[in-house]
């Protein structure tokens, strides 16, 4: 079952959900609007082993233009997590209507993860992004079964983080 906005507020008050800098005005009927953090990673070139190299850019108030054809890494401004619920992190429909992907088909956030989530930004059209803009939504889902954390990798990071060597 998906939590309603009121149930998200209740769960923040009880400590079952963590959202840093929580702002009631960003609650939707069944999700919460998160903001874009101010650091992004921009693909620069292929490394000698073929893996992508990124430059880090700090966004300022003028924003930054994403171009089609590449993928940028961003991060949520907030620490978002829950010890009780699973999460789905998606883009706002208002951003989808502008052609901006907020992740590449990996929307599932595992129960017990709590951190600033890396976002995979892909633009269908050139678009300007700004730090702290409301860019996506997170929803919370009840589990069926015992919750056991079976390991964390990317949940240990709070900055835009590319794929780690396996």
């Amino acid at each position: 079952m998906i939590l309603t906005g009121q149930e998200i507020i209740n769960s923040i008050n009880s400590g079952d959900i963590t959202i840093s800098n929580f702002d009631c005005s960003r609650i939707n009927p069944n999700s919460y609007n998160y903001l874009l953090g101010n650091e992004i990673k921009v693909f620069s070139e292929k490394d000698t082993d073929g893996s992508p190299k990124f430059d880090t850019i700090i966004l300022n108030e003028e924003g930054y233009v994403l171009r089609p054809g590449s993928m940028y890494l961003g991060v949520t401004d907030e620490i978002i997590g829950s010890s009780l619920y699973a999460m789905s992190l998606i883009g706002r429909s208002s951003m989808g209507r502008l052609g901006l992907f907020l992740q590449i088909s990996a929307n599932l956030g595992h129960t017990t993860s709590s951190h600033q989530w890396t976002l995979e930004l892909h633009a269908a059209r050139s678009i300007r992004i700004y730090p702290k803009m409301p860019i996506g939504q997170v929803s919370f889902w009840k589990n069926d079964g015992d919750v056991q954390c079976l390991g964390k990798t990317y949940a240990l990071y709070n900055r835009p983080t590319e794929r780690l060597p396996t």
Binding site: M1, I2, L3, T4, G5, Q6, E7, I8, N10, N28, P29, N30, S31, G63, V65, P68, S88, I90, G91, R92, S93, S94, M95, G96, R97, L98, G99, L100, F101, L102, Q103, N107, A124, R125, S126, I127, R128, I129, Y130, M133, P134, G136, Q137, S139, K142
Partner: protein, 172 residues
Amino acid sequence: MILTGNKIRDEVCAGKITVEPFNESQLSTNSYDLRLGYKYLQYKSGIIDPKKRHAYDIHDIPEDGLQLESGDFLLSESLEVIGSNNFVPIIHAKSGTARAGLFVHITADLIDIGSIGKVTFQLYATLPVKIYPEMLLAQVSFWRPEGAITLYKGKYQNSTGPQPSKTYLDYV
């Protein structure tokens, strides 16, 4: 919990889910198939700035189809008006649409409880693909919520055609 096709039919009959027009043949095991409507919207050229209103054109989808090329992005609408004050709708492509390389939304699959209207599809083609009015394009599933319900009163309520982004309203 996700509703079954039979449960979707029961809740439509009970008035707790809106699907208009409703056609039983569009039910599947866990969802209802959505058809493409008649209009599409394309933003004019230039860099899109979410703080500003971006100019666009609205056209009819030709009866003999609209050819999309790889990389094309446009907005369209569902033929059906859908929504619920009791369940949360989630939009998906039909598997056949996805296999043709066509996204029907851009990471925004979740509909708010209380939002009733035509779905704005965010069409993004990764291969050449042709679309037709009234084609079976997408599907909607319905999910049971937990907690007290506050209904949607947002800026896209009662949508009747492809709705451009209104992010600029966030900055006024």
